[in-house]
């Protein structure tokens, strides 16, 4: 009986799960298999030679392969941490600003904020590469007019990655502000009014009501922000090519360099698998943290 009932369900699920299997699971399984092989991307899979965990040993080893990979891994982690740490609080702050009804212009401000997300990255990259020019760029000229110290921006290994983070924040914050506004609209006005009647000031209302009730929105935003940040590629490829001194060489760009440009498919796959594992662990840790917090409440 149960068997007969499951058949239509399987039939209806088959197209979707079949597509997922073909376009997600098979490529993932193939990448994992290739990460255990010595293989040139320019040759057929039949030329792949099993090397066990050697590719993983190499990418974490002391040679140039390992040093470059570890630099890219750290750069990606720093880029992701900085992006999330800046975007989330900023999106909440902007969300509160455009959600309030005390002053007019909230909808207009929301549109302006979201518009940055719609600008193609190629345009953003071109504009920011000029804005960041140490000698000719307007950012340093403005800093000079204000009597503030200038920065080398993309032209120094100390500041290049942070400059790419700023570019990312500028482009993405509007999208996350919209998510924050969506979360804010879900908070019942009656709860906030009750808190006001009980004598809670704006800071207390934010800390004890708004922020906790935005928990799910923040969790979703954090997951999306992490995934977006880990996948950063275009600004690096378009502006810095990973330099100077590999300071902006992030994993996606490095995997492209190793796997495609140098045709080292096995090493590139091992890097991709490591990136995937790091992402899965990070997201799982985030969910575990959120669940623990919820259980604590």
């Amino acid at each position: 009986m149960a068997h007969r009932m499951n058949l239509p369900a399987f039939g209806m699920l088959a197209p979707a799960t079949g597509l997922i299997a073909v376009f997600v699971f098979i490529p993932m399984a193939l990448t994992i298999w290739l990460s255990l092989q010595a293989w040139s991307t320019q040759t057929g899979f039949e030329t792949a030679r099993f090397v066990g965990l050697q590719n993983f040993i190499d990418i974490f080893g002391p040679t140039t392969v390992g040093r470059d990979f570890k630099t890219a891994l750290i750069n990606t982690a720093v880029y992701t941490a900085l992006s999330v740490a800046i975007i989330l609080p900023l999106s909440i702050a902007f969300g509160l600003l455009v959600h309030q009804k005390l002053a007019p212009g909230g909808v207009f401000l929301r549109t302006v904020l979201f518009s940055t997300y719609m600008v193609p990255m190629i345009a953003v990259a071109l504009v920011f590469s000029k804005l960041y020019s140490p000698t000719e760029g307007p950012l340093n000229q403005i800093l000079q007019w204000l009597g503030l110290p200038t920065s080398a921006w993309l032209s120094s290994p100390q500041t290049a990655l942070a400059s790419i983070v700023l570019l990312n924040v500028w482009q993405q914050v509007g999208y996350f502000t919209v998510l924050a506004v969506a979360g804010l609209t879900q908070i019942p006005a009656a709860v906030l009014e009750a808190a006001t009647v009980d004598g809670a000031n704006p800071v207390q209302r934010f800390a004890y009501i708004t922020l906790p009730l935005l928990g799910n929105t923040l969790l979703f935003s954090a997951v999306i922000a992490i995934i977006n940040a880990v996948q950063v590629f275009e600004p690096v490829a378009l502006i810095t090519q990973g330099g100077p001194v590999d300071s902006t060489n992030v994993l996606t760009y490095h995997i492209r360099r190793v796997g495609i440009e140098r045709a080292q498919g096995g090493l590139g796959s091992a890097m991709a698998v490591t990136l995937m594992l790091a992402l899965v662990v990070s997201i799982a840790a985030l969910f575990a943290f959120a669940q623990a917090r919820e259980a604590g409440e």
Binding site: E136, S155, V245, E261, R262
Partner: protein, 392 residues
């Protein structure tokens, strides 16, 4: 691009069965494009490549060997060094076209302002001039280095190295542990430590845009070392101020005997996975495009295309056909003077990885992360490891 399309159209008119479309790919994306979308049976039939990539592309069986008549034509009409760069294991794989080398580019107005009468001929003069040209109060550097672009970082360094009697690679082994290499690393360190080169003014990319170009065209950099194809970028950036730029041979180092430069060439190759018919049509077209019948006055159509961009053609008959023009071009003079003594960039397996590794080490030195001594040791060790691994 327009001239190449015109040449292709002219050929198609004579050969109606041959259809040719031209696609431009930025240099920074070219190798990746060839490896990803250009290498299958339905990829591009003909590709223009940089000679350092050839050994790896041949190893991966992406490019077809030239048919015997084309190979014989190349050997008979191009300098042996250029044919050598288009060959692997004695087999010719491409039809050579352009040759590029490096020279000192300097701003005559800044030289006059600093009281310098002539371009430097030795490293001592070079350092002395860099010192005179540097004026931090005006945001001016004496010599402009490049970062964030592998060839841009590596080739000027390699040119100074060969002008000091050294080499990057000999017989497939790196020779960055030599005395001339030590002196070249030390020259870079002196330029940086003395403030004659500012790494913050050095960022560039493979399309030549960025602060490196901005600073030279706006008169904030006194001297640079760059390739001849750079002329069109300079003209576009400087407009009517371009005549202020002059060229000279690379200064000779303490261990060098005469001005030298690194050189590299470009060639057109044919996709090994294209059908036999497509390959034949491709080689026929390349033979015509690079032959003396396709252009005016004994020059090839390709030679004409290259000269329109300030690029030196490498075919002997093109060099003869354009000799008066090459001799009268003051910008190209600094390049053509050194051509006979140029050393080809080493064609080795893993050449791109080797270049990127040395780029990183030189950049680390530019930004004070490595001393000259440490940079030299790192560069040699990394290069040995990379070349050995790729040779397997």
């Amino acid at each position: 691009m327009a001239k190449l399309e015109a040449a292709a159209a002219a050929y198609s008119k004579m050969h109606p069965d041959t259809k040719i479309t031209v696609r431009a790919v930025p240099f920074g994306d070219l190798l990746t494009t060839l490896r990803s979308s250009g290498s299958g049976a339905h990829g591009v039939t003909i590709a223009s490549i940089y000679d350092a990539w050839l050994p790896d592309l041949v190893k991966n069986q992406l490019v077809a060997p030239a048919p015997q008549p084309i190979a014989a034509e190349a050997k008979a009409n191009w300098p042996a060094s250029v044919v050598g760069a288009a060959s692997v294991g004695g087999v010719v794989y491409g039809v050579p076209n352009e040759i590029d080398l490096y020279a000192l580019n300097y701003n005559k107005a800044l030289f006059a302002e600093a009281g310098i009468a002539a371009p430097p001929k030795t490293w001592n003069e070079f350092l002395a001039d860099a010192k005179k040209l540097t004026d931090k109060s005006k945001g001016r550097q004496g010599f402009g280095m490049i970062n964030s672009w592998a060839a841009g970082v590596l080739h000027p360094f390699a040119s100074l190295l060969v002008s000091n009697g050294g080499d990057l690679v000999v017989n497939g082994k790196p020779t960055l542990d030599s005395k001339p290499a030590k002196e070249t690393f030390e020259l870079y360190e002196t330029l940086i430590k003395s403030g004659y080169s500012d790494p913050a003014m050095a960022t560039a990319d493979a399309n030549t845009t960025g602060p490196f170009l901005d600073n030279f065209v706006s008169g904030k950099t006194g001297m640079i070392i760059m390739a001849n194809w750079w002329e069109s970028a300079l003209k576009a950036g400087m407009g009517d101020k371009f005549p202020a730029i002059a060229t000279a041979s690379i200064p000779v180092g303490p261990s060098g005997d005469k001005p030298r430069s690194i050189s590299y060439s470009w060639m057109t190759v044919v996709n090994a996975k294209a059908s036999a018919e497509e390959q034949k049509e491709a080689w026929d077209f390349l033979d015509w495009l690079n032959g003396p019948q396709s252009g005016a006055n004994g020059a090839s159509a390709m030679g004409d295309i290259l000269m329109s961009m300030g690029i030196l053609p490498s075919r002997n008959s093109d060099v003869s056909a354009f000799a008066p023009r090459l001799a009268s071009d003051p910008f190209l003079k600094g390049y053509t003077e050194t051509l006979a003594d140029a050393k080809g960039f080493p064609g080795v397996l893993g050449g791109q990885e080797f270049s990127e590794s040395l780029q990183k080490t030189l950049e680390a030195m530019q930004f004070g992360q490595l001393s000259a001594e440490k940079a030299q040791a790192t560069a040699q060790a990394d290069a040995a490891q990379i070349l050995e691994r790729n040779a397997k």
